[in-house]
C-alpha cells in the first residue's frame, strides 16, 4: 500500500520530466551508446508518434462530443433540437436552465444530495477510520475475523441484499428518510474504506503514537490528535473515492428512497428524463442533465490530480 501513495499521488511527474528532457542531465551521458539504435528506429518513432496522436485525438473526441452535444442541446429550443441535433442554437436559451432548476426541482434534488452525502461522507470517514485504526494497530481476539468480515463486503453484489434490506429499513421506519439513506451509504462504503485505511495505518510509524501514550494521552486522544493528522493523505484519497461513489449512487436511493420530494440528484434526473421525455421537452431535460453534471465537473477540474489518484488508489498495489 505504500506504493499506492508514492505511486499514485505524484503520478504526473514522470510525464513532465519526459516532456522536458534537459532537466534530466543524467540521461544525456547515456546518449552516446544509444545513438545507433536511435538512428535505426528514428522513422519508426515518427510514424508511431503520428499514429498515436491520431488515435488519442479520436478517443478524445468520442469522449467530449456527447458531453458538448448535451450542453449545446440544453441551450436550444425544442424545435431547434428536433430540426437538427448538431446545429448551433440561434440564441442561447439560458432560461431552460432556470426552468430545470426551479420548475423541474433540480435545485431541490441537489440540496437533498448535499444533505445525504454530507452526512454519510462524514460518518463513513469517521467510523471507517476508527474501525481501520483499531484493526490495524491493536491485537485482540477476533481481529482477523472482523477484518475479513468487512472486506468480504467488497465482493458481494449489492443487488442481492437489496430485497431484504428494503424490509429491514421498512421495519425500522427508515425508508424514505435522509438518516436512513445516510446509514445505508455508510454501511456500504465501510468495506473499501476499512480495507484501504487499515493498510494505510499499518504503513505509518508506530513511534509517534507510542510517545503520545507515554506522555499520558489516552488512546482516543492519540487517535484524533496524532494518528488522524498523520493519515491525511490516505483519508483524502479514500474521501474522494467515497464522495464520488455516494454522490453518484443510483441503485440504493432508487429502491430505498422513493418519497416525493426526497429524491437525490441522479434519481431525480432519471425521473425528470421520464416525464420530460414523454412531454417531448428535450430542452428542459438536457438542462437538467447539464445541471446535474456541473457540480462534479467543477470538482473534477479543480481537483483532477487528487480525483484520479483517489479513484485509482484501491487498484494500485
Amino acid at each position: 500500500m505504500t506504493d499506492t501513495q508514492t505511486g499514485a499521488v505524484p503520478e504526473g511527474e514522470p510525464v513532465t520530466t519526459q516532456l522536458v528532457p534537459p532537466e534530466l542531465p543524467g540521461i544525456d551521458k547515456r546518449d552516446a551508446p544509444s545513438a545507433p539504435g536511435k538512428r535505426q528506429s528514428g522513422s519508426e518513432g515518427r510514424v508511431l508518434n503520428v499514429f498515436s496522436h491520431a488515435f488519442l485525438v479520436v478517443w478524445g473526441l468520442l469522449v467530449t462530443l456527447p458531453v458538448l452535444w448535451a450542453i449545446m442541446t440544453s441551450l436550444k429550443t425544442d424545435s431547434e433540437i428536433l430540426k437538427s441535433p448538431w446545429a448551433l442554437p440561434d440564441e442561447l436559451k439560458w432560461n431552460n436552465w432556470s426552468r430545470a432548476w426551479q420548475d423541474a426541482n433540480m435545485g431541490d434534488y441537489f440540496m437533498n444530495s448535499v444533505i445525504v452525502v454530507g452526512g454519510s461522507l462524514v460518518g463513513t470517514m469517521l467510523l471507517g477510520a476508527m474501525a481501520a485504526y483499531v484493526i490495524a494497530r491493536f491485537e485482540f481476539p477476533g481481529n482477523r475475523f472482523i477484518y475479513y468480515l468487512f472486506i468480504s463486503g467488497m465482493s458481494f453484489p449489492i443487488i442481492l441484499a437489496l430485497v431484504p434490506l428494503f424490509f429491514v429499513m421498512d421495519n425500522m421506519g427508515l425508508l424514505n428518510t435522509y438518516h436512513g439513506l445516510i446509514l445505508v451509504y455508510i454501511g456500504y462504503s465501510l468495506p473499501f474504506t476499512v480495507f484501504f485505511l487499515t493498510s494505510f495505518f499499518r504503513t505509518l510509524p508506530t513511534s509517534v503514537a507510542e510517545a503520545a501514550i507515554l506522555d499520558g494521552a489516552s488512546h482516543t486522544r492519540t487517535f484524533f490528535q496524532v494518528m488522524l493528522p498523520m493519515a491525511k493523505p490516505g483519508l483524502i484519497s479514500v474521501g474522494i473515492f467515497n464522495f464520488l461513489g455516494q454522490w453518484n449512487q443510483y441503485l440504493l436511493p432508487t429502491v430505498l428512497n422513493t418519497g416525493e420530494g426526497k429524491q437525490v440528484l441522479p434519481q431525480g434526473l432519471v425521473e425528470l428524463a421520464a416525464t420530460q421525455g414523454y412531454d417531448g421537452d428535450w430542452s428542459g431535460l438536457f438542462a437538467g442533465l447539464v445541471l446535474a453534471t456541473l457540480p462534479v465537473l467543477a470538482v473534477y477540474i479543480v481537483f483532477q490530480r487528487q480525483v484520479q489518484a483517489g479513484l485509482t488508489a484501491g487498484a494500485l498495489k
Partner: protein, 306 residues
C-alpha cells in the same frame, strides 16, 4: 492499561460494526435464506420450499437470456475496455517523438489527454445513461442518427436500442465509454513506474516498441491488469443502471438487454416474487465468485519485482 485498551477497542468498533451488521451483513444472510422460501415480499408470511426457486430458474427462459447477456458482457467488456486502456496508456507513455536524450518518451500533452479521458468516470452512471438514451434516439433529435445524416448517410439510420440485434452492443459501448479513462490513468501510473533502463536495454538489443510492449510493459503490469479485470467484471455483472435507465422496456426489445440484476429488480419490486428474486441474486453471486476465481487462477504467475 489493558482494561483501558479493550474498552477503547470496543468503543471504536461498536458503531461501525453495528451499522455494517444491520445494513450489509444481515440482508445478505437473509437473502440467501429467503431464496429457499416462497416469500412474496408483500406480506410477512412465507414457507420453506427447499430448492423450488432454483428449480424454477432452470426452466425460466428469461433467466437464461439474462445470464447469456451477462456472460457476453463479462467476456467482451473487460477485453475491450482493458485493451483500449492499455493501448492508450502505452501510446501516452511511449508513443511520443523521441527527444534528445530520452530513449522513450510520452506524447506531448499526455496529462491533458488523461484529464479528458478520465472525465466520464466521475459522472454518475445515471447521467451517462440518460445522455446516451437520447443520443441513441433514432428519431429526429437523436445525436447519432443526426450525425449520420449530417455526413450524408441518410439511408443508414439504425434503430440502435430498438434493434434486438444491436441493443446489447449499444449498452456495451456506453459502458466502455465511461470506463476506458479509468484504466488509461491506472495503467499510465503503472507504466511510469517501470524503470526506463528496461526499455533502453531492449531497444539497444534491436527490439521495436511493439515488442517492448508485450515483452516488458505487459508482464510488469500484470498484477494491475488482473485487478482491473476483476473490477471490470464486477461492473459487467451489475449493469443495472444502464439497462434500467437506457434500454427500451426496460430490458430491451425481446429481452435483448435483460441482465440478472435488472431481472432480479423486476421480480422483487414489480412482480412480488421476492423469494424467486433472491434465488436469482444467489445465482449472480455464484457467477461473480466463479469469475473472480478464474481470473485469480489464470493470473497466478511468478511475481516480478523491480
Amino acid at each position: 492499561m489493558q482494561h483501558g485498551k479493550y474498552r477503547f477497542i470496543v468503543g471504536f468498533l461498536a458503531l461501525p460494526l453495528a451499522i455494517y451488521a444491520v445494513f450489509v451483513i444481515s440482508p445478505f444472510v437473509q437473502a440467501i435464506y429467503y431464496s429457499f422460501t416462497d416469500w412474496t415480499g408483500l406480506s410477512s408470511d412465507y414457507s420453506w420450499v427447499g430448492l423450488e426457486n432454483y428449480d424454477r430458474l432452470l426452466d425460466d427462459e428469461i433467466f437464461w437470456k439474462a445470464l447469456r447477456n451477462n456472460l457476453l458482457l463479462l467476456l467482451v467488456l473487460p477485453l475491450v475496455t482493458l485493451g483500449l486502456g492499455l493501448f492508450f496508456a502505452f501510446m501516452l507513455n511511449v508513443g511520443g517523438k523521441r527527444r534528445r536524450g530520452a530513449v522513450i518518451a510520452g506524447v506531448r500533452g499526455s496529462g491533458f489527454y488523461k484529464v479528458v479521458y478520465f472525465f466520464p468516470q466521475v459522472l454518475s452512471i445515471a447521467i451517462v445513461a440518460v445522455l446516451f438514451r437520447y443520443a441513441y434516439e433514432p428519431t429526429e433529435g437523436g445525436a447519432l442518427n443526426g450525425f449520420l445524416r449530417a455526413i450524408g448517410l441518410d439511408s443508414v439510420q439504425p434503430l440502435w436500442l430498438g434493434d434486438p440485434d444491436l441493443a446489447l452492443w449499444c449498452v456495451m459501448a456506453v459502458m466502455v465509454w465511461c470506463n476506458v479513462g479509468f484504466y488509461v490513468v491506472l495503467f499510465s501510473a503503472g507504466m511510469s513506474s517501470i524503470p526506463r533502463d528496461f526499455y533502453e536495454a531492449a531497444l539497444l538489443d534491436g527490439a521495436n516498441r511493439f515488442t517492448t510492449f508485450f515483452r516488458i510493459t505487459l508482464p510488469l503490469l500484470w498484477d494491475t491488469v488482473q485487478t482491473g479485470w476483476i473490477y471490470m467484471g464486477i461492473i459487467a455483472l451489475d449493469s443495472f443502471a444502464v439497462v434500467q435507465i437506457m434500454t427500451i422496456g426496460p430490458g430491451g426489445p425481446d429481452y435483448s438487454t435483460e441482465v440478472l440484476s435488472f431481472y432480479l429488480y423486476t421480480k422483487s419490486f414489480r412482480d412480488g416474487q421476492a423469494g424467486q428474486a433472491t434465488a436469482l441474486g444467489v445465482a449472480l453471486l455464484i457467477v461473480t465468485l466463479i469469475f473472480a476465481g478464474i481470473v485469480m487462477r489464470l493470473g497466478r504467475r511468478e511475481r516480478l519485482e523491480f
